[in-house]
Amino acid sequence: MSELLQFLLSGITVGAVYALVALGFTIIFNASGVINFAQGEFVMLGGMSTVFLLDAGVPMLPAAVAAIAIACAVGIALNKLAIQPARGASVVTLIIITIGASIFLRGAAQIVFDKQIHRFESFSGDEPFVIGGATILPQSLWVMAGAVAVFAGLYLFFTRSLLGKAVLATANNPLAARLVGVNTNFVMTLSFAMSAAIGAFAGVLVTPITLTSYDIGIALALKGFAAAVLGGMGNPFGALVGGLLVGLIEAMTAGYISSAYKDAAAFIVILAVLFVMPHGIFGRATVERV
């Protein structure tokens, strides 16, 4: 029983990270129809930048904030330099551009940072809490709390603020959004900045547990993508549920079958979703009255 609880806790921890990555996919997908495969690189940039800023003597909080700002700037540059100039190209072309961007960012990270595996100190020590025979690291609680805070903040942004509604409106009908005066280019830029910030934030939170290096982005992007597809692409709530489910499936696979198959779990999820319910759990074929 305590074994199951242990797997649940670790599943929820990694699931929270996948949920944040999936959320990044969702935000950019909603604003532009593009699936941004450089999403995992934002997580890497968050963790790696923090590592190197800490090494340079910057205290933890400013380092984390600066790392998120760096990822934001990279996200905005990605949109301005690679996506917007290709506007009008098919979505598949844009997706391939994001794959190119992810390879570029990985290469740049090797040069700017290094090829080593890094970690930094947990925020509140490494003394685990014991719950019902299972243990949980304080950093795991940070990850979960961070995910909850991001989802709650975004929920408020999209439901309470006019700018948030303008983002939803742009996703729903870009032409109409332009006709009411929304600067849809700005909405696109904002979406990339938000996605990058969320990814980097996840990177900062999770690095003390999972460690980081220049190439962690690919696996994270694929698992976050699996989570987004499972939850229903384009649905933020689906991203949350999908992320947690992928994390749990992965933890159960590692625990009850073999940790060698852990990484396969996400891909089996993708295949299963595509075969059985291509719209995902919360995605739906749009039905409108005309």
Partner: protein, 233 residues
């Protein structure tokens, strides 16, 4: 108020507007009628800045706006209720209206919304429902109300009668007629030529990307060529 000179526009390499000249005076209701595919919607898209202009100028309130991005034109008081309504289907009726006034966040937004609900009481009843669930007529009302929320000096209306039952067409046209009392200048594009000409001051007839006739609405309605081609008489 709004003056268009030699306007040309292309889809790819195919030119669809071949030099349009058109004038809308302050306080007027001007209509552009013509068959499906004549380029009427493209003309309005050019005016709103969501379709590139290949040549010619658009002057609005004394300013050349032909290169201005779409959101800046809305800010100058040029709003559009587009063809096919284009409402935000996954947002509530109230959010649709609020976004109509996206560029504003003062007290007038609330009074404008109250005015919109007074003009279309059915929208007030459904204010918290998703706009995608409204009937075609209600969606059209919402599209017009949303455009009015943008505080237009000049309103561009694209096919407001399209796909509506005759009784609803009359209701919508009544609303357009009343825009005069709100001191909103209107450029109305319609396939339903008779309905449009019956409420307009002046009209233009458009065929395959060109203006072929223009004049006071009552003259056009009496013109045998217009009657034969567009009124089915």
């Amino acid at each position: 108020m709004l003056s268009i000179e030699g306007l040309r526009s292309k889809y790819g390499r195919i030119e669809v507007l071949h030099g349009i000249d058109l004038e809308v005076g302050s306080g007027e209701i001007v209509t552009v009628v013509g068959a499906n595919g004549a380029g009427k919607t493209t003309l309005l898209r050019c005016l709103s800045g969501v379709q590139p202009v290949a040549a010619g100028t658009i002057t609005f309130r004394g300013e050349d706006i032909s290169r201005l991005p779409a959101h800046r034109r809305v800010g100058l008081g040029l709003a559009q209720s587009p063809e096919g309504r284009q409402i935000f289907t996954n947002l509530t009726v109230e959010d649709n209206l609020r976004l109509g006034a996206y560029l504003y966040s003062d007290d007038r937004v609330d009074t404008d919304m109250a005015d919109a609900f007074a003009m279309f009481p059915v929208l007030r009843e459904k204010r918290n429902l998703n706009a995608g669930g409204l009937s075609g007529g209600q969606q059209q009302m919402l599209a017009i109300a949303r455009a009015l929320m943008a505080r237009p000096v000049c309103l561009l209306l694209d096919e407001p009668s399209m796909g509506l039952a005759p009784i609803l067409v009359d209701q919508i046209l009544e609303v357009v007629k009343n825009l005069r009392s709100l001191e909103v200048t209107t450029l109305l594009v319609e396939q339903n030529a008779f309905a449009a000409l019956s409420i307009a001051d002046r009209g233009y007839v458009m065929e395959t990307g060109r203006i072929t006739m223009s004049g006071p609405a009552e003259e056009l309605i009496a013109d045998p060529r217009v009657r034969a081609a567009y009124l089915g008489i």
